[in-house]
């Protein structure tokens, strides 16, 4: 056990090794470790954020879906009501139109009847006059008895 120049040599070697490790070995590896730690932490935070965002989006979509459903129901009910109303309106309009057509037809019929009656009356009167004329060819003077004939016609 004797200390000699070897110790000095070993100190120099040690100093060089420490310097090398200090300058070239430690910093890149430490930086890689720290960068990775940071990126892992960032990734975890992003995943957590994504999860929260997904939950929020899920809730929102559910809300939108529920709203759409209720809105659709509302629209459907409204449409049904409207359809019933339209049918009702159509029905009443048709009824009014029908009534009107019936009334018109009735009036026309009446008119037609009265005209027919008038014609019939005229024709009967003419026939009666003609009959009477034939019977009373000689005795009856159309001019002298015009008043009488008119009265007769009116009676028909």
């Amino acid at each position: 056990m004797n200390l000699n120049l070897t110790m000095l040599g070993q100190m120099i070697a040690f100093a060089i090794f420490v310097w090398f490790s200090w300058k070239f070995v430690w910093p890149p590896l430490m930086k890689a470790i720290e960068d990775r730690q940071k990126s892992v932490a960032d990734g975890l935070a992003a995943a957590e954020k994504g999860k929260q965002e997904l939950a929020i989006a899920d809730r929102k979509s559910n809300e939108a879906l529920a709203e759409a459903r209720s809105r659709a129901g509302e629209i459907l009910a409204q449409a049904e009501r409207r359809a019933a109303q339209i049918v009702e309106e159509a029905k009443s309009a048709a009824k009014v139109e029908g009534d009107r057509i019936i009334a018109g037809a009735k009036a026309e019929t009446q008119q037609e009847t009265s005209r027919a009656k008038e014609q019939l009356r005229d024709q009967v009167a003419a026939l009666a006059v003609a009959g009477a004329e034939k019977i009373l060819r000689r005795e009856v003077d159309a001019k002298a008895h015009a008043d009488l004939l008119d009265q007769l016609k009116r009676e028909f």
């Binding site: 070897t6 000095l8 420490v18």
Partner: protein, 267 residues
Amino acid sequence: MASEAHEITSTTYISHHLEFFKKSVGEGSFWTLHVDTIVMSVLLGIIGLGLLWLASRKATSGVPGKWQAFCELAIDFVDGQVKDVFHGNRRFIGPLALTVFVWVLLMNAMDFLPVDVTGKVTHAFADRWRLVPTADVNTTFALALSVFGLMIFYSIKVKGLGGWIHELFCSPFGGNPLLWIPNFLLNIIEYLSKPLSHSLRLFGNMYAGELIFLLLGLLASTSILGTLIAGILGAGWAIFHILIVVLQAFIFMMLTAVYLAMAHEHH
């Protein structure tokens, strides 16, 4: 070892394996280099840091490769340990602790190599070759004294030269002038004990581990039964030694961090 011509006794076997490959570069015993220690430690340092550098060169913050993941594990482990004891900027203390841990671990791990097998290789270029650089006090003292120097440096940097000297005389007992001398003596003892215990703990563990392997090698040479027993015991010791190798590297790293953390504290 077998290449020696003269007869091998227990003493020569052990002492042969505890001899360094020395190279004298000047007058006096100080000017000697342990070539084996320096070559082994520098080689291991280059391998260890080179492998780490391989990962850091292509480091990506995306999906890491297997090797990068392993290196990140090591860095994260060291950084976590340092963070527990040292509350401050770890930009330098972190890599320092990592270097200490990786380097000391690899140097300690050389203890697993069977000395008489590697001897066949090393004897090709050297008569003596010790494999475990941390079983050389020069290595452990070099590390501990470097840490000691950093400790003084950080003490002065954090507290200022005046603050540091004030602390030397006025803590732990208080600022009374009568207590200056006891305070100072206690601080000197503390400062001396730190690098001593730091380095000798590692050295002692690795040296003892090496010695036990040598003793088992000696037992193996006695007879076939001895070889069998030594093989079993050697396996057991090697398994137990895995714990010691890692533990001592860990303790050395932790003490480095703790000492430097203490240097940052105000008393």
